[in-house]
Structures are given as structure tokens and as C-alpha cells.
């Protein structure tokens, strides 16, 4: 184990960097996607409700690994067959799209549940004062919803960080993929995967501790 760390520490740290980059990018896009589809699902416009529901159900109904294959191999193949033969997508782009779409669907559900947890009377009071639906959402409902959403969001962030490992299948050099390489080079299955596992564990533990701190602070400042 010490040998693996001594030999491969630079490679492992770089891979962890890739994992975090992929995770961070995906979280940013997933938050945006989740906000948009979540709001579509709580509104009263049937067309938007339908689109939101279809998105969430479709993405949740497809395993992430299949989604990643579809985006990394399927979509470029499709676009190339339409005549754009130079079209290419690298593993980071495809990985970010797949993970954002996946995490976004779950975030949409978190947003929907959070908003629906706010008493209807809050919006009604806002509307009765002359605020538009959008202003009521932005100034009254969402700020209260966010507080209830935070534990679920943190949970989802951690799941997404772990899900990055699934994207090793499309060859993105994140931590799990590098773990495979090290294993291939050293044939030390036990040690290689122990190192990789511990690295995930450390990062995720730090992340959850920090999140708990943030959560506490938000709940304290009312």
C-alpha cells in the first residue's frame, strides 16, 4: 500500500482532481437543471408540468452507465451519421452532461419537494399584496424552501461525487479509472482499491463535515 502511494501519489492526486472537477461542473449544471425542472413541476402550466415530469422520469428510469454510453458513444455517432463527420465529444464533456442530467433529475425532485413543503398561504399572501408569481417564488417561497432542501441537496452532492466513478467506463481519467490502471500495472488488487477507497472516503467525509457546518449556519441565521 505504501509502495502504491509512493509510486503513484501524483497520478492519484491528479485523478482525484479530475473527479472533483467532473463533480463540481456537474453539480453546477445539475443545480441549474434541477431549479428549472423543479419549478416547471410545481407550476400550474400543464405543458411545463408534462415536460418536467417526462424529464425526471426518463432520466431516473435509465441507469447512469447507460446514459453515459448513450451520450459518449451514441450521440456523436448519431451526429456524425447526419454528415457532421468531424463531430467529437471528449470524455469530460460527455461525463459532465451525463452526470448533470442524472443529478439534475434528482435535484428537480428535491426542489419540487422543497417548494411544496412551503405552506401555500405564503404564496397567497405574497400574491394578495400584488406580487407576481415569479416574485412570490423568488422572494418568499424559494428562500424558505431552500432551508428544507439543504440536507437533501448535500446528500445528492455526495451521491454525485460517488457517481463520478461510474464514468470510468467512458475512459475519463478520474480516480476509479486510475485505480484500474494502477491495478493493471501492479496486480495488487487489494492495496490499489484500498487506496482508492480511502481517498474517496476522506474527501467525502470532509465534504459532509463542511456541509453540516454550512447547514448549521443557515439554520441558525433565520
Amino acid at each position: 500500500m505504501v509502495m502504491i502511494i509512493q509510486t503513484y501519489w501524483a497520478m492519484l492526486l491528479k485523478a482525484m482532481g479530475h473527479t472533483l472537477l467532473l463533480c463540481l461542473l456537474s453539480l453546477v449544471f445539475a443545480t441549474i437543471i434541477g431549479m428549472i425542472f423543479g419549478l416547471m413541476n410545481v407550476g400550474h402550466n400543464r405543458v411545463l408540468n408534462f415536460i418536467g415530469t417526462v424529464y425526471v422520469d426518463a432520466v431516473r428510469g435509465v441507469p447512469l452507465i447507460v446514459l453515459a454510453y448513450f451520450i459518449y458513444f451514441g450521440i456523436p455517432a448519431g451526429i456524425q451519421s447526419m454528415g457532421f463527420t468531424n463531430f467529437k465529444m471528449d470524455a469530460l464533456q460527455a461525463g459532465t452532461i451525463a452526470l448533470s442530467m442524472n443529478c439534475g433529475a434528482y435535484m428537480a425532485e428535491i426542489v419540487r419537494a422543497g417548494i411544496q413543503s412551503v405552506d401555500r398561504g405564503q404564496m397567497e399572501a405574497g400574491r394578495s399584496l400584488g406580487l407576481s408569481y415569479g416574485a412570490g417564488m423568488a422572494l418568499i417561497v424559494v428562500p424558505q424552501a431552500v432551508r428544507t432542501m439543504i440536507p437533501s441537496i448535500i446528500n445528492q452532492f455526495i451521491i454525485t461525487l460517488k457517481d463520478t466513478s461510474i464514468l470510468s467506463v467512458i475512459g475519463f481519467p478520474e480516480l476509479t479509472n486510475v485505480g484500474k490502471t494502477i491495478m493493471g500495472n501492479t496486480f495488487k488488487n487489494l492495496q490499489a482499491w484500498a487506496v482508492v477507497g480511502i481517498m474517496y472516503l476522506v474527501v467525502i467525509t470532509i465534504l459532509s463535515k463542511v456541509s453540516k457546518q454550512i447547514e448549521r449556519r443557515i439554520n441558525r441565521g433565520r
Binding site: 405552506d119 398561504g121 405564503q122 397567497e124 399572501a125 405574497g126 400574491r127 394578495s128 399584496l129 400584488g130 406580487l131 407576481s132 416574485a135 422572494l139 418568499i140 428562500p143 424558505q144 432551508r147 433565520r222
Partner: protein
């Protein structure tokens, strides 16, 4: 009756259904400037729904509602603009839980630019003084009693400088000892000439403050008139029956 120009609220043949349940069957009424109309009736009679239709928190199924000359049932009316002139007070207060009292009051006028931030703050402090809560400007709703919450809610509605105030069972969620303080604020408002529509079970309030009492049952206006006529000398058997239960 006052002449046509004084009409603040005009409802014609209003019907409202929730799915297959028809809650308002055929409501027509007019409210003139400065009138205090108290709606009474058994639960499920449609009182609250009628009130909520006036500012379109519930969309009318059919019929026409004209407020201050604006047809709020017309899709082209800017309902948000009309609502600025209609204050509403809810049974469950609906104070914004994430904001303190002052912010609760100034949020809408500052966002809608009907008042500058400074003016809004000054006005809020005056109103809080009027409802006896000037020391609570920095408090959060969770730190207030029910009666205090409802007084803040009234002040918040008044901050928009409305011509009309709607009260939807404003004292029903209060502990008995807090009912008086809220009714006192409402009485003062009525004395100052505010046009008010009040759904309530407080018959005493109706007797003292109402210029007109409307008894509703089953989605219809069954009887209306002065408090004396409706409360003391009701003609309709259903009114008599209802009053015998609540008095």
C-alpha cells in the same frame, strides 16, 4: 343607497366550482365606499371562497367581478395591479416566516416600487405603532403570539395603502384572549372609513361594526341587511336556524 360612483366592489352572477363541487352558485352583491360588510354562515357555505374570488386567489368559474372599476374576471386586467389596492388578512396570518416584522411589511411595496425603502420603513413603523407593536419591528413571526401575528398581518396589508380590506376569518385561529386585540384594530380601521369585507364567526363584531350583514348558505346569499335586521330579526328560516346555534 349611495350612487354608482361609490361602488367599490360589484359582483354579478358569480359562480365557482372546484371540480364537480359547486361552491358559489349565483352570487351578486355590491359594496360601496366605506361599507363594512360582514359575511356569516355555516362552514362550507362559500364565504371564504367568495372573498378569495374577489382578489382572484380563486378564479371565478363564471360571472363578473368589478373592483374599483377593474373587471378582475377579465383576463386582460393586470390582476397584480388591482391586488395592490385590496389588502387581505388570512385566518392563518401567513406572515413570511423567513423575514422579520419590518421586512414582512416592506417587502411588497419596495419590490413593487410603490414606496422607497426609506418611506416604506417609516410607514411600517407608523403602522406598527397604530397596531401597538412598535417594539416588534425586528422580531420574527415565530417569536410573536397569534394576536400579534395577526396585527402584523393587518399592518402589512395596510402598508400597501389599499382601498379595500378583505378579512378571511381573522380571529378563528386565535386563542380566545387574543381575539379582542385583533378585533380592536379592525374596529378602528372601520371607524376610519376603510371599505371592508369580513368573514367571521364573531357575531358581536358584526353587530357592532357592520354596516351590512350577509348570511350565506349552500353557495347562495340567503339574507342580507343591517345587523339589526339580519341578526336580531332574521326572516329566513335558515338564518334563524344558524343564529340559534351560534348565539
Amino acid at each position: 343607497m349611495a350612487d354608482k360612483t361609490d361602488v367599490r366592489i360589484s359582483v354579478k352572477n358569480l359562480k365557482k366550482s372546484f371540480g364537480s363541487l359547486e361552491v358559489l352558485k349565483d352570487i351578486s352583491l355590491e359594496v360601496t365606499e366605506g361599507e363594512v360588510v360582514v359575511l356569516i354562515g355555516p362552514s362550507g357555505s362559500g364565504k371564504s371562497t367568495l372573498l378569495r374570488c374577489l382578489n382572484q386567489l380563486e378564479k371565478a368559474t363564471s360571472g363578473q367581478i368589478v373592483i374599483d372599476g377593474f373587471d378582475v374576471t377579465d383576463k386582460h386586467t393586470d390582476i397584480n395591479k388591482v391586488r395592490e389596492n385590496i389588502g387581505m388578512v388570512f385566518q392563518h396570518f401567513n406572515l413570511f416566516n423567513h423575514l422579520n416584522v419590518l421586512k414582512n411589511m416592506t417587502l411588497a411595496p419596495v419590490h413593487l416600487k410603490t414606496l422607497s425603502k426609506e418611506d416604506a420603513n417609516n410607514k411600517a413603523m407608523q403602522l406598527l405603532e397604530r397596531v401597538g407593536l412598535s417594539d416588534k419591528a425586528g422580531a420574527y413571526p415565530s417569536q410573536l403570539s397569534g394576536g400579534q401575528k395577526q396585527r402584523v398581518a393587518i399592518a402589512r396589508a395596510l402598508e400597501m395603502n389599499p382601498d379595500i380590506m378583505l378579512f378571511d376569518e381573522p380571529t378563528s385561529a386565535l386563542d380566545p384572549e387574543m381575539v379582542g386585540e385583533v378585533l380592536a384594530v379592525m374596529k378602528e380601521l372601520a371607524r376610519d372609513g376603510m371599505t371592508m369585507m369580513v368573514v367571521t364567526h364573531e357575531i358581536g363584531f358584526a353587530r357592532e361594526v357592520a354596516s351590512r350583514v350577509i348570511f350565506m348558505e349552500g353557495g347562495y346569499i340567503v339574507e342580507e341587511g343591517t345587523p339589526e335586521e339580519v341578526l336580531d330579526h332574521p326572516k329566513e328560516p335558515r338564518t334563524i336556524d344558524f343564529l340559534s346555534k351560534v348565539l
